[in-house]
């Protein structure tokens, strides 16, 4: 059995699939894709709703259809695939230890590793809701898997905490399957999901969305019986006088996603405290040369389409790396988040690339704002570039193109700041 590869990709979701195909297109020959589930596609097969592919394929698809577009091509391409294979360790000299039922323990040596493990949902424990510990509390994604893949209804009377996209989509899905969704609660004064989902998942079915509200207590014996909910003040603290009870048997949590970086951390690869993903350069290469990361393991994306795009950046970069075909800048340029910017990816720019005209920088804002300018500032605070945006919100990733001509050899930092126009 083959245990040496040019490229090993960990994770067969949208990120890993895009890396494999794009690396192959760029003549990387020796590729192994490792996936811990029985099937490829990651979370996509359970995301049966439409809305995928509008950016990438210019056509509206469901999650399973979007995944199949990639999987079908992968099978034509003779890339080695091992499913039901769990990676338990990655080292900085690019050795991978993995296990599966057929091969037992595997020691694989790679020239390049791509981390594409995706993310995980925050749970009740992560947000510490007080109360008893009955059955009936699910993350929205777990409920989604039960309903859409395994064929179980998790409950009949539902309260959803969090107005992220998965929460809103599951509110609609549960309603369509005959459950009663009593409320969607959002602790912030704005939705963290897409407007389209607010309209088509909540408004279409008259599901109330309560801003500035949270669950203050869960009650129930064997099963959830009711929740206490309250309005919160400016510091997100519950206001006791506003507390009311809602009877329900099920609570769905859509309270954020966390990149799954246990392997990364154990390998000693440095993480960004805000994205909780590795710190990367414009090739999505971590601070360990030859180990790359992309997709939701790097930072949580709004759309699978953007994940595919990022996977392709990595696929091409892997090819350049293997060909030893790259030239470092005299010094790395740090991209620094400034006013109203929560994070930026990539965090630094390391290469001189002949013929490259611009570099796409992704960022997430802290607070919604309208009619703003995104300013790129140099070390002395001079404006290098400035981009108008009609609206920015934390729910939608913002991107700007950094023109290559601005990248002076002496430049150490570029700060990105948002100001009202």
């Amino acid at each position: 059995m083959k245990l040496e590869y040019d490229l090993v990709i960990i994770g067969g979701g949208p990120a890993g699939l895009a890396v494999a195909l794009e690396a192959k297109r760029n003549s990387v020959k020796d590729i192994l894709l490792l996936e811990r589930d029985k099937y490829l596609g990651g979370i996509l097969p359970q995301c049966i709703h439409n809305g995928f592919g509008l950016q990438y394929f210019k056509e509206e698809l469901t999650g399973p259809e979007y995944a199949e577009r990639f999987i079908a091509k992968l099978n034509d391409n003779q890339i080695d695939i091992k499913t039901e294979t769990m990676v338990i360790e990655v080292t900085t000299n690019k050795r991978i230890i993995a296990i599966n039922r057929d091969d037992g323990l595997l020691h694989i040596q790679a020239k390049v590793i791509v981390l594409a493990m995706g993310c995980r949902e925050r749970t009740r424990e992560a947000i510490a809701i007080p109360g008893s510990r009955p059955a009936g509390i699910f993350t929205a994604g777990t409920a989604q898997r039960y309903i859409n893949i395994e064929g179980y209804i998790p409950g009949r009377e539902v309260v959803v905490l969090g107005s992220g996209d998965i929460g809103m989509i599951m509110a609609r899905r549960m309603t369509l399957e005959g459950a009663k969704v009593k409320a969607v609660l959002e602790i912030m004064p704005f939705s963290t999901g897409l407007i389209r989902n607010k309209v088509q998942c909540l408004d279409d079915f008259n599901i109330p969305l309560k801003f500035n509200h949270t669950i203050t207590r869960i009650e129930g014996g064997k099963r959830v019986e009711k929740v206490a909910v309250a309005q919160v003040d400016k510091n997100l603290q519950a206001i006791p006088e506003t507390e009311e009870e809602i009877s329900c048997d099920t609570i769905l949590l859509s309270v954020g996603l966390i990149p799954e970086n246990e392997l990364t951390r154990e390998a000693g690869i440095k993480l960004d405290p805000v994205t909780r993903g590795p710190i990367v350069n414009e090739n999505r290469e971590t601070e360990v040369e030859g180990i790359f990361a992309c997709g939701n393991v790097l930072h949580v994306h709004d759309l699978a389409d953007f994940v595919s795009e990022e996977g392709e950046i990595v696929g091409r970069a892997v090819s350049e790396y293997l060909k030893r075909n790259r030239k470092f800048r005299p010094q790395s340029i740090k991209i620094v988040p400034g006013d109203n910017i929560a994070y930026v990816v990539p965090q630094h720019i390391d290469f001189n690339v002949p013929g490259r005209k611009k570099i796409k920088i992704f960022m997430r804002v802290k607070k919604p704002a309208e009619r703003v300018r995104i300013n790129l500032l140099d070390d002395k605070g001079r404006v290098l570039g400035s981009y108008k945006k009609r609206i920015v919100t934390p729910g939608e990733m913002v991107s700007v193109y950094l023109p290559e001509v601005l990248l002076d050899d002496k430049l150490k930092n570029i700060t990105i700041s948002i100001k009202r126009d």
Binding site: N50, T62, E65, N148, I149, L176, D204
Partner: protein, 127 residues
């Protein structure tokens, strides 16, 4: 004179529009920031349409369900009724992506199609 509130979903701005109408005919649309809003408000006012994604029971498949969708958008008011009809459907594995699961769903002229492949197996491999 009747007023309907419609939130545009064409972009992240999410314009809150007001459609005024008389005897079912639009007399004015206000609150939109661009022409896309007008088009969206008209469609939403006259006949709001939605694609319906859901699942159908599979017999003899590697999984108990196959994901499906209406090939085109159907009237919004039919969504819940369509769900009760779809609940009655069973399909035999194997199922291929794009396969028509039900023709002419509730006389809409729109087919229900599979959105993934399901292989046939002799026992149900539930994970």
């Amino acid at each position: 004179m009747k007023q309907n509130k419609i939130i545009c979903v064409s972009c992240p701005i999410g314009c809150r529009m007001t459609v005024q109408s008389k005897d079912g005919k639009i007399t004015s649309i206000i609150g939109n920031a661009c022409p896309k809003g007008i088009k969206y408000a008209e469609e939403e006012f006259i006949n709001p349409l939605r694609i319906l994604p859901t699942t159908v029971k599979v017999i003899g498949g590697e999984l108990p369900l196959v994901s499906v969708k209406t090939e085109k958008a159907i009237p919004k008011r039919l969504l819940l009724k369509a769900m009760t009809e779809i609940a009655e459907i069973e399909v035999k594995a194997p199922v291929e992506i794009g396969q028509v699961i039900k023709d002419d769903l509730m006389g809409t002229g729109v087919s229900l199609i599979a959105t993934r492949n399901i292989k046939r197996v002799d026992f149900n491999l539930r994970s």
